[in-house]
């Protein structure tokens, strides 16, 4: 893998300069809202990518940590008037702690067992936020979450919101990038490919997976903190299993193990349903079709499309071991 450093700068430039400039030119709060959702989803996808792409754990528990961070922030900022740095740190730390505690028994599980267990976590989380009314205000949702606060300043308006989210998301993605392109990332990949071999190399697959799991939980929790403020409203319905599925879709459509792919995948899962609104009651049908066709024709996701073409060419035509 070539080091995509220039690509990283390009991405940062697009997110910090080009997109806000375009938003400013066209002055659309609707587009700004979608841009914010894309960024938050991208952080979720990057965190999930760390788990799937590097540690090889297929997980459906996005909503657990995302929702945890969101409710934590909602409760903190509404009741204690906390500011942004506190909230981000709290979400990151509490997310990592929760991830560590839950991950300890879970990451030992093999492939599908792990996936189903995380699916269970998602349902358990949803049932809890729905029914623990005293803490989460239950089905009525958590309304009136204040805007971002940085010290004395309250950040409102779409531009401020956008920049706060963009900076935090880029920071989170940078952490994922550093982790995957380091000795640590290689160790995790080694543990993914062959646990016994990794053990022989003196690595502990369990510890590596647990760390990846905790980091992913922490990042998702931070994404949740951003979401709570960006939305000003939380409802248990935001944290159903289906939403985990959307993040997984973003990862798959964008390309497994690819960080630019996380942004592209997030773009697709946030924008496509919006663009399909004119379809009315055929909307979900259309989304299903697009999802299906993209899995069928882009088995490696959008961002890896270049390498995926090479893959297809190699495997289907020149190599000639296509059976039918």
């Amino acid at each position: 893998m070539n080091r995509p450093l220039p690509l990283g700068w390009l991405l940062a430039a697009v997110i910090l300069v080009v997109v806000p400039a375009a938003l400013w030119l066209f002055g659309s709060a609707y587009a700004a809202r979608l841009a914010q959702l894309v960024l938050i989803t991208a952080l979720l996808a990057a965190a999930l990518n760390l788990l799937i792409g590097t540690a090889g754990l297929l997980s459906l528990d996005t909503v657990v940590y995302y929702g945890f961070g969101a409710y934590l922030t909602a409760i903190l900022s509404t009741n204690y008037g906390t500011t942004l740095p506190t909230e981000i740190l709290a979400a990151a730390a509490a997310g990592a702690l929760l991830g560590g505690l839950i991950g300890w028994p879970l990451v030992r599980l093999a492939s599908i067992f792990f996936a189903v267990a995380t699916m269970g976590l998602a349902t358990i989380f949803h049932t809890t936020v729905l029914n623990w009314v005293d803490l989460t205000r239950g089905p009525m949702g958590y309304r009136g979450i204040p805007a971002f606060k940085l010290g004395e300043f309250t950040i409102d308006g779409w531009a401020g919101n956008y920049y706060v989210i963009a900076v935090v998301v880029l920071g989170g993605v940078w952490i994922v990038h550093r982790l995957t392109h380091s000795y640590y990332g290689n160790a995790m990949r080694a543990a993914r490919e062959d646990e016994d071999c990794a053990r022989a190399m003196g690595l502990s697959p369990h510890a590596l997976k647990l760390q990846a799991y905790a980091v992913h939980a922490s990042l998702m929790s931070v994404a949740g903190a951003l979401y709570a403020h960006a939305n000003n409203f939380l409802s248990p319905d935001n944290f159903v299993l289906l939403e985990s599925g959307l993040t997984l879709t973003a990862v798959v459509v964008g390309g497994l193990g690819s960080l630019p792919g996380a942004f592209i995948g997030a773009l697709v899962v946030v924008l496509v349903p919006e663009l399909l609104r004119p379809l009315g009651n055929l909307r979900a049908f259309g989304f299903g079709m697009i999802l299906f066709l993209s899995i069928l024709f882009l088995p490696r996701g959008l961002w890896s499309e270049v390498s995926s073409l090479a893959f297809v060419r190699r495997h289907l035509f020149r190599e000639g071991w296509l059976k039918r």
Binding site: I112, M119, G120, L121, T123, A284, F287, G288, L291, I295
Partner: protein, 302 residues
């Protein structure tokens, strides 16, 4: 008084658990052969329910006469799902790709997507409405079984579970196609060298599994009477959990686990409000996995 109440709760739980078990049978069969999760199975179940509805309302057939139609619908759905969501990802006969992670993940998502498409298509046809099996066609006659009151529907669900389970074991253990299914699920590469036509076996598996799924939809809809296009969604998740608790590849294991989940839900409802029992299956799942990381009833050698 209290005891009969507890027994009642557990019995209701077991009867609910049997519906999970019934769906889990076909679901597990398909998983066993391909190591791939067929999320569109829930939609096959729903299709089975709609086929029943069409049979008893439009065609005015007695409930039992719906069976052939339900079987045909299940067969067509199974073959369709295999062709559209699974076959395209088995492009290579190389062992590395046949059951590889990539293929498993791709088919997991492709079947999920196909499930959404199927569900929404049914939504268009039946306008997303809740539809009712006419009361005179429902299996709701009370049956007195030595003092215990059961409905005919519950007996039908229990009976069908048993028949399907035994029938499937017979098919797997006593027929040529069953042997080939077990051979493919045991060793795909070996099966190719033994001259087994993989595509035929996979198609047969989907056909059988989906017929079972559609029959499950039929009996459950006849017992409960309400049908809607998204009814398969929750059931397939419960079947999935039952399959995993049961050890992934063991069909009797999945059935036992399905009933176990139902009973656990019934037991939990003694202590907590029903709204919380949604998580019982999953708590059970996670605890099972912590103490039995490969499920309760793992087949030997697998």
């Amino acid at each position: 008084m209290f005891d009969s109440f507890v027994a009642g709760q557990l019995a209701i739980g077991a009867s609910v658990g049997l519906t999970y078990a019934l769906v889990a049978i076909g679901f597990t069969l398909i998983y066993r052969v391909l190591s791939a999760v067929n999320f569109a199975h829930g939609e096959v179940y729903t299709l089975g329910a709609f086929a029943t509805l069409v049979a008893v309302t439009t065609l005015k057939a007695p409930p039992l006469a719906a069976v052939p139609l339900v079987i045909v619908v299940g067969l067509a759905a199974g073959l369709g799902i295999e062709r559209v969501a699974f076959r395209p990802f088995r492009r290579f006969t190389d062992e590395a790709s046949l059951k590889s992670r990539a293929v498993r993940e791709a088919t997991l998502l492709s079947s999920l997507a196909l499930g959404i498409v199927g569900r929404e298509a049914m939504d268009q046809v039946w306008h997303g409405q809740w539809l009712a099996i006419p009361q005179d066609k429902m299996l709701n006659q009370p049956v007195n079984l030595g003092g215990v009151m059961l409905s005919a529907g519950e007996l039908a669900i229990a009976g069908l579970s048993l028949v399907l389970l035994v029938g499937l074991q017979w098919l797997l253990l006593r027929t040529r196609v069953g042997l080939e299914i077990r051979a493919v699920s045991s060793n795909l590469v070996g099966a190719q060298f033994s001259g087994i036509d993989i595509n035929r076996v996979v198609l047969a598996t989907f056909a059988v599994g989906s017929i079972l799924g559609a029959l499950a939809g039929m009996v459950v809809s006849l017992a409960y009477g309400s049908i809607q296009s998204s009814m398969g969604l929750t059931v397939v998740l419960k079947a999935f959990v039952a399959m995993v608790i049961g050890g992934l590849t063991s069909i009797p294991g999945a059935v036992v686990a399905g009933v176990l989940i139902g009973v656990a839900e019934g037991a939990a409802s003694l202590w907590v409000a029903s709204a919380w029992t949604e998580m019982v299956a999953y708590v059970l799942l996670i605890f099972t996995l912590i103490f039995f990381p490969r499920g309760l009833f793992r087949r030997r050698g697998a």
